[in-house]
C-alpha cells in the first residue's frame, strides 16, 4: 500500500508545470543530441550538468531522464534518414530503417521507430517502478564472470549479423576487437600496439571510428558511384506517419521479443542499450520466418531493436536507484547529479526520500509518453534537412563529423583517426567485409577483456569458473549455440537438398 501511495504522490508531483517543462526540454535536447552525428546523448547529459546546480534533485533528474529517453531514440532518426546512426545502439535500426527509407517508406519507418521506442520505454519505466526494490537483492549476486558471459553473448550474435559469410563476419569482428586493444590496457597499464606513437597511448575511441566508418564511408561510397541516381533520395519530402494499431498488432511478436530482451538485458548492470539492440536484432533474425530479408528493410528487425533500446533504459535507471551502481554511461552522469546534491543513490533512497524517488520514476514514465510528440517534431525537423542538395548536405555532415570527433577529447588526432576510419569503411564496403561485426567487436571488446581478465585473476587462472557458475554457464552455452547455428543450418539444408536429389 505504501508503494501505491508513493506512486500516486510521485505522479502528482511529476505533473507539476516546472517538472513537465524539464521533461520536454530534456526530450528535445536528447533527441537532437542523439540525432546529430558526433554529439552523443551522453555529451548532452554532461553539458546540462552545470545547469542542475541551481535546481532541486527531482527536476534535475527529470531533465536528465528526458535527455536519456530522447537520446537513445534520437540516433534512429539520422540512421533512418541518412544511414548515420547517432549512437552505436542505433546501428541495427539503421540497417533496416535506411533500407526502408530507400524503398520509400521513410515516414512509416520513423513513425514506427517513435512508437516502438515510446512503448518500450513506457513499459520498462512501469516495471522499473514496480520491481526496483526486489531487483536490488538479485543483481547483487552477479560477479564479473556473469558480466563476461553477457558480453560474450553479444559478441556471439555476430554470426547472425554477419551478412552472407561467417568467415567475413569473424574477420571483421576480430579487426574490431583488435583495434580495441590498442593503447594502455586497463588491467596491467601496459602500452600495446602503439609502435611508439604517443597519440595511440590512450587508444582509439570507438565513437571516432563509428563516425568515420558510417558517415564518411557512406559519403565516399555514395558520391563516388558513377551511375548513381543523382539527388533521387533527396527529392523525397517525407512526413512521419505513426503506425495504426493493426500495424502494431501485426508486429506484436517482434515488439514483444524486443521488449522482453530489452527489459532483461537492461536489468543486467553494465550491458547497456548497445548490447541489447544487437542481441535483440540477432534473436529476431534467428526466430524470423524470413531471415533472408533482414538487412534489406525488414519491419521485424526495426521494431525489435527499437523497442529493446528504450526498454533497456528502465533497467539502467533501476541499478542507479536500487543499487547505487550506474547501469550505463548516462546513468553514471546522473549519479554525479545525485552526488552534487549531497545524496548517495542506493537502497537507502527508498527509505530516506521515497517521495523523490517515485516522482522521478513517474516522471520517467510520463517522459516516454511525451516522447511521441517530441519525436514527431524533431523527426520533422530532420526530414526538412533532406531538402538540402545532396553534395552540400554531405559536406556539412563531414564538418559535423570532424567537430564531433574533435570535441570528444579536444584532440586533433581523433580527427585523423576519423578520416582514416572513413577510408577504411569505404574499402570494407567495397570489399564486402561486413561493417557491423567490426563495430560490435570494437564496442564490446574492452568490456569483454575487462570482465574476462578480472574473472581469471580473481579465480587464480581457473578457466572452469565460467562453467561452474550456473547463470554464467547458461549464457555462455547460449552464445556457443548461436555460434554453431549457421553450421547446423547449413548441415540441415544440405541434407535436405541431398534427400531431394535422391528423391528425384
Amino acid at each position: 500500500m505504501d508503494q501505491l501511495h508513493y506512486i500516486w504522490l510521485g505522479l502528482s508531483n511529476s505533473c507539476e508545470p516546472f517538472n513537465i517543462l524539464m521533461i520536454i526540454t530534456g526530450l528535445i535536447v536528447g533527441v537532437l543530441a542523439g540525432a546529430l552525428p558526433g554529439i552523443t546523448m551522453l555529451n548532452a547529459i554532461v553539458l546540462v550538468l552545470p545547469f542542475t546546480y541551481l535546481m532541486d534533485i527531482v527536476p534535475s533528474l527529470l531533465l536528465m531522464s528526458g535527455i536519456y529517453c530522447g537520446g537513445v531514440f534520437g540516433g534512429s532518426i539520422t540512421g533512418i534518414l541518412f544511414n548515420i546512426p547517432g549512437d552505436p545502439m542505433n546501428v541495427p535500426t539503421t540497417w533496416e530503417g535506411y533500407k526502408l527509407n530507400k524503398k520509400g517508406q521513410c515516414a512509416k519507418a520513423l513513425g514506427m521507430a517513435i512508437m516502438c521506442s515510446a512503448l518500450g520505454g513506457f513499459i520498462s519505466a512501469l516495471l522499473m517502478t514496480a520491481f526496483s526494490q526486489p531487483f536490488a537483492k538479485f543483481a547483487l549476486t552477479f560477479s564479473s564472470a556473469e558480466y563476461f558471459a553477457v558480453v560474450f553473448l553479444g559478441l556471439a550474435s555476430v554470426v547472425v549479423i554477419g551478412t552472407r559469410s561467417f568467415g567475413s563476419a569473424m574477420i571483421s569482428m576480430c579487426i574490431g576487437l583488435f583495434i580495441a586493444t590498442v593503447g594502455i590496457d586497463e588491467i596491467y597499464s601496459q602500452v600495446r600496439f602503439t609502435f611508439g606513437w604517443s597519440a595511440l597511448d590512450t587508444g582509439i575511441n570507438f565513437v571516432v571510428v563509428l563516425i568515420g566508418i558510417f558517415a564518411l564511408g557512406e559519403i565516399f561510397d555514395q558520391l563516388s558511384e558513377k551511375n548513381r541516381d543523382e539527388m533521387d533520395q533527396y527529392k523525397v519530402r517525407p512526413k512521419t506517419h505513426l503506425p495504426r494499431l493493426h500495424e502494431l498488432w501485426e508486429l506484436r511478436k517482434s515488439i514483444g521479443r524486443g521488449l522482453g530482451i530489452g527489459i532483461a538485458m537492461g536489468a543486467l548492470p553494465g550491458t547497456g542499450a548497445t548490447v541489447t539492440s544487437f542481441i535483440s536484432y540477432g534473436v529476431e533474425k534467428q526466430v524470423s520466418k524470413t531471415p533472408e530479408l533482414f538487412g534489406t528493410g525488414h519491419w521485424e528487425g526495426l521494431v525489435a531493436s527499437e523497442t529493446s533500446i528504450n526498454a533497456s533504459t528502465g533497467g539502467a535507471m533501476m541499478h542507479l536507484f536500487a543499487l547505487g551502481i550506474p547501469g550505463s554511461g548516462a546513468t553514471a552522469v546522473m549519479m554525479g547529479a545525485f552526488l552534487l546534491h549531497g545524496i548517495q543513490p542506493g537502497p537507502m533512497l527508498f527509505t530516506k526520500t521515497p517521495e523523490a524517488v517515485y516522482t522521478i520514476f513517474m516522471g520517467f514514465t510520463i517522459c516516454n509518453l511525451i516522447m511521441i510528440p517530441s519525436g514527431l517534431i524533431c523527426a520533422k525537423f530532420f526530414s526538412e534537412l533532406m531538402k538540402v542538395p545532396e553534395i552540400i548536405l554531405n559536406a556539412s555532415i563531414i564538418a559535423f563529423c570532424v567537430i564531433g570527433a574533435f570535441a570528444l577529447r579536444n584532440d586533433m588526432n581523433d580527427v585523423w583517426f576519423m578520416v582514416a576510419s572513413g577510408v577504411m569503411g569505404y574499402f570494407m564496403r567495397r570489399l564486402s567485409l561486413p561493417i557491423p561485426p567490426m563495430i560490435l567487436g570494437l564496442v564490446l571488446g574492452p568490456m569483454a577483456e575487462r570482465f574476462f581478465m578480472t574473472t581469471i585473476i580473481s579465480s587464480n587462472n581457473d578457466f572452469t569458473i565460467f562453467l561452474r557458475r550456473p547463470l554464467c554457464a547458461v549464457l555462455i552455452l547460449i552464445g556457443i549455440a548461436l555460434l554453431l547455428m549457421p553450421f547446423i543450418r547449413d548441415y540441415l539444408k544440405s541434407r535436405k537438398e541431398n534427400a531431394q536429389m535422391q528423391g528425384v
Partner: protein, 212 residues
C-alpha cells in the same frame, strides 16, 4: 563445356580467385606479425598471471583461424555454385579429368560474385574527396576551424560537382557561421584557432560574430 570455354572462364576467374585469397593472406600475415609484436608487450610479467598480451594474442589467433575458414568458405561456395550453374559442364569435367580446374573456376566465380566491385567507382572523384578530407583535417590545425571550414565547404562541393559559385560561397560562409555559433558560442567547444597570425584572424572573426 568445351575446352575453350573452360580456359576462358578459368582465365577470368582465376585472377579474381587469386585476388580474394591474396586479400585473406594479407590479413593472415598481418595477424601473424602482430602476434609476434604482442610477444614483446609484457616487459615485467607477473608470475602466475596471464598478462596484458594474452587477450590480444587470443584475438589474433582467432583472426588467423577466421582467415583459414574464409578460404575454405570461398572454395566450398564455389563448388556449390558450380554445381548449380554449370551442372552439364561439371559432369563433363569430371569425365575429362578436369574436376580440379572446374572447382577452382567455380570457387572463384562465387567469390567474384560476393566481392564488391570497383568497376562503377569514379576513382578521380573518390581520390579528390579523400584528399579534401585530409586537407581539411590538416588545415583545421594550421589555420583554425573558422577559415578551414569555409574553404572546405566550398572546395568539397566544387570538387564533387556543384559549380554554382554564388550558392557555394553563401553556403560556406553561412554554414561556417552557423557551426561557430552552435559549437563555440552555445556548446563551448574550443575549436582550433590555428597557429601564428591565423589565431589572430580567428579571434577577429569571433569578435565580429560576438562569440568570443
Amino acid at each position: 563445356m568445351s575446352e575453350t570455354t573452360t580456359d576462358k572462364l578459368k582465365s577470368v576467374f582465376t585472377k579474381k580467385f587469386t585476388r580474394s585469397l591474396s586479400g585473406i593472406s594479407i590479413f593472415f600475415i598481418l595477424a601473424c606479425y602482430l602476434y609476434v609484436v604482442a610477444g614483446s608487450i609484457d616487459q615485467n610479467p607477473i608470475p602466475g598471471q596471464l598478462g596484458p598480451a594474452f587477450w590480444p594474442k587470443c584475438i589474433l589467433v582467432l583472426l588467423m583461424l577466421s582467415c583459414v575458414f574464409k578460404g575454405f568458405e570461398i572454395y566450398r561456395d564455389g563448388l556449390k555454385k558450380q554445381k548449380r550453374d554449370y551442372p552439364v559442364g561439371y559432369g563433363h569435367a569430371a569425365k575429362d579429368g578436369e574436376t580440379s580446374a572446374v572447382a577452382e573456376i567455380a570457387a572463384a566465380a562465387a567469390q567474384a560474385e560476393a566481392a564488391g566491385s570497383f568497376a562503377s567507382v569514379d576513382l578521380r572523384k573518390l581520390l579528390l574527396m579523400i584528399i579534401a578530407c585530409i586537407g581539411y583535417a590538416f588545415l583545421i590545425d594550421m589555420i583554425g576551424f573558422a577559415i578551414a571550414n569555409a574553404i572546405f565547404l566550398f572546395a568539397f562541393c566544387y570538387l564533387v560537382g556543384d559549380r554554382k559559385l554564388m550558392r557555394l560561397t553563401l553556403v560556406s560562409l553561412l554554414g561556417t557561421i552557423g557551426l561557430l555559433y552552435l559549437f563555440v558560442k552555445f556548446v563551448y567547444i574550443p575549436l582550433p584557432k590555428g597557429y601564428f597570425f591565423f589565431e589572430d584572424i580567428t579571434l577577429i572573426i569571433y569578435r565580429i560574430l560576438f562569440i568570443h
